[in-house]
């Protein structure tokens, strides 16, 4: 029966991973706008080829948003 201690430890770990995922999702702003992404994902064609700058600028924007 003492294996329960290990099992409970594992189940808590798994639960902690999900809690972490949730906190990350809130932090990265996924709960800020619950509408636009649902529309955006349905747009058909690909976005115009993204340059190297745009990845850099994505990073800047993400950084800015997480500071909010």
């Amino acid at each position: 029966m003492d294996v329960m201690f290990v099992l409970i430890g594992f189940s808590l770990l798994v639960a902690l991973v999900f809690l972490g995922a949730f906190l990350w999702a809130v932090r990265s702003g996924q709960y800020e706008d619950q509408y636009t992404p649902s529309v955006r994902m349905l747009f058909e064609e690909k976005r115009p080829a993204e340059s190297i700058e745009s990845t850099k600028e994505d990073a800047i924007q993400t950084e800015y948003r997480s500071k909010e």
Binding site: S11, A15, Y31, T36, E57, Y64, E68
Partner: protein, 814 residues
């Protein structure tokens, strides 16, 4: 054009087989403006289409509904944005800048469908300097990143304006910068409480299921410690949501509902910690975590907000950021805040007059629709005084500032105490009223029961004392109003009454006096009726007038065009439009002029329309034919609305106009209603305060900035708006004008949601009595608490949610 209106236009047009503009979906008067078989209603729409098709962006027209476009402003005056070139302005507007890279967030009120999202997120295809644009649709914002070496801030704004999405740049947006999401922390709290709740409940099961004493001691100790570890963050982080307001309340000598909640929470947690550490029992941590989880969900449900709407706007939202100062013969842009008395300023076509001023040069035609909701142009001559808040229409004028911005006729309203005082002018909330007595009674019961059990022993007495406080934790009570009013708020939102917060609904349910503004509230600013006085027109003349009116975007021309019967296809040459005066052109060989009296050359003693009408004179080949008088219309359903409201409420009408429409209003509101005319903004506010001093609960329904004081002074201020996204002064609720007739139903529904709250209070009291019985008798085991607490919370939530929906159905709301 708002989406519902446009779909209605489309439906009618489809029936009649009319041509619709490929870009914006407005009815095309003819097939004159067209490209490759696609018709457009005006050149503006055609230009946008050309721009988009040149950049291969025509998917715009197939993303969401057909014809999603917005007609760009005809008078795109790019110098209007010159102030954006100033470094200090840019610094205020930019979110972020790093050398060449700049990020700014713009508010775009015109955004309305997925096509808008599609196009705005493809601004990089329109200009290579734009790197990325991302839309936040609920807030109607777009965050744009661009390279400063390739495109300036001003060019970005002009680019957006040229495709019809003009960003709103105002003093207030610069001052307040960005709203931060306060909900984020609440989400963290819920996540942690939910996580702990699930796990603690799982680990508490063995205790309940195993027959007493069969659970090995080391298991019990282990479960207890793990539960405790899981609950500590809940107590110290998640519960802060209740501790903080409770603490603030106590400091201000109030007893908000958070106080008894916090008391219960502390008792629950403290006793659990004691039981676990002393190994005398399993504690109540499962109830504790579940309780916090449910109550936090209640909080988030209550915090529903309409991101795109602002309930806090004052005049600063409407005033420009910069003004053009004229110094000798040089013109320069200065920030509005630096404007001084005695400065000479230049105000161009469609610009707002920022302060009370005297007209020095030029002909002013001032449109005060911003202020009063009335769309008549007021002509001014040199030397005339012009009040702030009007919009110049026509040529550029020169003004000398007479008063500071904050001291001007309109804006000094905001200096009143009403605007500095906070929420304490409102009614105390029922829940906080109950909380006072509730706390006292519960503490009394706890002491009495504790004293009674002292006979048995000090230990037993403490157990009973804490058990009473635990079980009496008013969680069900605290959940009933968030869920009832939260559901009501959503139902109101579905029916286009946007309520600022749930407290407003409670305040609405207690209203006994309804005060109306007239212009723009009881009457509508658009769609007036048109009457003609003068020499009867032949069908040919009518066609000429109609053909000419079609050329102009002015509101009066549009009304004339839509009311005149018959075709309008005559050739128009030599078209001339003088803003604020009129239009003229050779129509089929005849010189047609329509507009003001001086424009058409009508004599001063020409036929005068009734006073409440705007006059549009007509002259053909130099001879004045007559005048169209365009009247304001009362809103649809005003008669039934007034009749219904008069039965239950005291009605008052405060009008800024003179009393020429008194008879009409009497007809609607009956003899007992108080009607006051020629009221200044201050008069309106003062009257509301008098009514409140008489102990009345006042609801003010208004629209323009001139009602701002009254809206604020009343317990509930409702702003009626033709287009909810563009205009509304500070208020508690925004009502879409086409739902105005449903207003009595909204009031009735607010009252029924209050009844629902009362009923659910009764339910939660019943649970409390059961729980207290257990507690007083010393029988409150963790199992009883683990069943009773969730059951009471869930049943209260279920009851309020179902009941609010049923009530809504009964009122015909959806």
């Amino acid at each position: 054009m708002n989406p519902t209106e446009s779909s209605a236009t489309r439906a009618t047009a489809a029936v009649q087989g009319t041509l619709l503009c490929h870009h914006c979906g407005d009815v095309c008067d003819s097939a004159d403006i067209a490209i490759g078989g696609l018709a457009f209603c005006c050149n503006g729409c055609k230009t946008v289409y050309e721009l988009l098709s040149a950049k291969n962006l025509c998917t715009y027209y197939s993303v969401d509904q057909a014809m999603p476009g917005l007609t760009p402003k005809d008078h795109l005056y790019t110098r209007r944005y010159e102030f954006l070139d100033d470094e200090s302005v840019a610094a205020q507007l930019l979110d972020f800048s790093d050398g060449d890279m700049a990020v700014a967030t713009f508010n775009v009120p015109a955004m309305h469908c997925s096509s808008c999202i599609w196009l705005l997120e493809r601004m990089n295809s329109l200009h290579p300097g734009v790197l990325k644009s991302q839309v936040h649709f609920p807030r109607k914002e777009v965050t744009i990143t661009w390279r400063r070496s390739a495109i300036t801030l001003r060019e970005v704004v002009v680019l957006m304006t040229s495709i019809g999405y003009e960003p709103l740049i105002s003093l207030q947006s610069a001052v307040e910068k960005r709203r931060h999401s306060t909900n984020r922390q609440l989400y963290y709290r819920i996540g942690i409480a939910g996580f702990a709740f699930g796990n603690v409940m799982l680990l508490s099961f063995p205790e309940y299921l195993a027959p007493i004493g069969t659970l090995p001691a080391h298991f019990r100790a282990f479960f207890g410690i793990v539960n405790l570890a899981l609950s500590i963050p809940v107590f110290f982080y998640s519960c802060w949501e209740f501790f903080r307001p409770a603490w603030i309340g106590l400091k201000q000598r109030h007893l908000p509902i958070d106080v008894p909640i916090s008391l219960g929470i502390v008792m629950l947690f403290g006793r659990s910690v004691y039981e676990i550490l002393s190994q005398t029992g399993p504690g109540f941590l499962d109830s504790f975590c579940g309780l916090i989880f449910f109550m936090l969900i209640g909080r988030i449900f209550q915090k529903k907000s309409y991101d795109a709407l602002s309930f806090e706007r004052d005049f600063r939202s409407y005033f420009p950021l910069w003004v053009t100062l004229k110094d000798q013969d040089r013109e320069q842009s200065i920030p509005l805040t630096k404007l001084k008395v005695g400065d000479r300023i230049v105000v161009r076509n469609l610009e707002l007059i920022p302060a009370d001023a005297v007209l020095l040069r030029g002909e002013a035609n001032v449109d005060y629709s911003f202020v009063t909701g009335e769309s008549t142009l007021v002509p001014k001559r040199s030397g005339d005084m012009i009040y702030a808040g009007g919009r110049q229409s026509g040529q550029a004028i020169e003004l000398e500032v007479l008063k500071d911005i904050s001291q001007s006729y309109l804006t000094r309203l905001w200096n009143n105490d009403v605007f500095t005082k906070d929420a304490d002018v409102r009614l105390p909330l029922l829940i906080n009223n109950i909380s006072k007595y509730f706390t006292a009674v519960v503490i009394a019961i706890a002491f009495i029961a504790g004293a009674f059990w002292l006979g048995v022993g000090a230990g037993a007495a403490t157990m009973v004392f804490t058990a009473v406080l635990i079980v009496a934790c008013p969680c069900a009570l605290a959940l009933s109003s968030p869920f009832a009013f939260g559901s009501a708020q959503r139902i109101f939102g579905n029916n286009q009454l946007y309520v600022k917060n749930t407290e407003t609904i409670e305040a609405l349910s207690r209203i006994d006096t309804v005060v109306f503004d007239k212009t723009g509230t009881l009457t509508r600013a658009s769609l007036p009726s048109v009457e003609y006085h003068g020499t009867p027109l032949t069908p040919d003349e009518r066609m000429k007038i109609k053909s000419l009116a079609r050329q102009s975007a002015h509101a009066l021309s549009r009304q004339l065009f839509s009311t005149l019967e018959g075709p309008a296809g005559l050739p128009v040459t030599g078209y001339d439009e003088a803003a604020g005066k009129g239009i003229a052109a050779l129509v089929d060989g005849a010189m047609v002029r329509i507009g003001s009296r001086s424009w058409t050359g009508a004599p001063a003693d020409a036929v005068l329309p009734p006073q409440e009408h705007s006059a549009v004179y007509v002259a053909i080949d130099g001879s004045v034919r007559g005048v169209f008088s365009v009247a304001n219309n009362y809103r649809k359903g005003l008669d039934t609305l007034a009749a219904t409201l008069r039965e239950r409420y005291t009605c008052v009408v405060l009008s800024g106009d003179d009393d020429r429409e008194e008879a009409t209003l009497r007809g609607f509101f009956g003899p007992e209603t108080e009607l006051r005319f020629s009221q200044t903004p201050e008069d309106k506010m003062r009257r509301i305060m008098e009514l409140r001093a008489e102990g009345r609960h006042v609801l003010m329904v208004g629209d323009g900035l001139n009602d701002a004081g009254a809206l604020k002074a009343a317990q509930v201020g409702v702003s009626v708006s033709e287009d909810i996204n563009t205009f509304s002064p500070a208020c508690d609720a925004i009502l879409s004008a086409d739902r105005f007739h449903a207003f009595p139903r909204f009031l009735r529904y607010a009252a029924s949601s209050m009844t629902i709250v009362h009923t659910s209070f009764a339910i939660s009291f019943a649970y409390n009595i059961v729980g207290l019985t257990f507690a007083v008798m010393g029988l409150l085991s963790p199992l009883v608490s683990a069943i009773l607490m969730p059951v009471s919370s869930v049943s209260v939530v279920a009851f309020t949610t179902v009941a609010t929906r049923l009530m809504a159905k009964r009122e015909g709301l959806h």
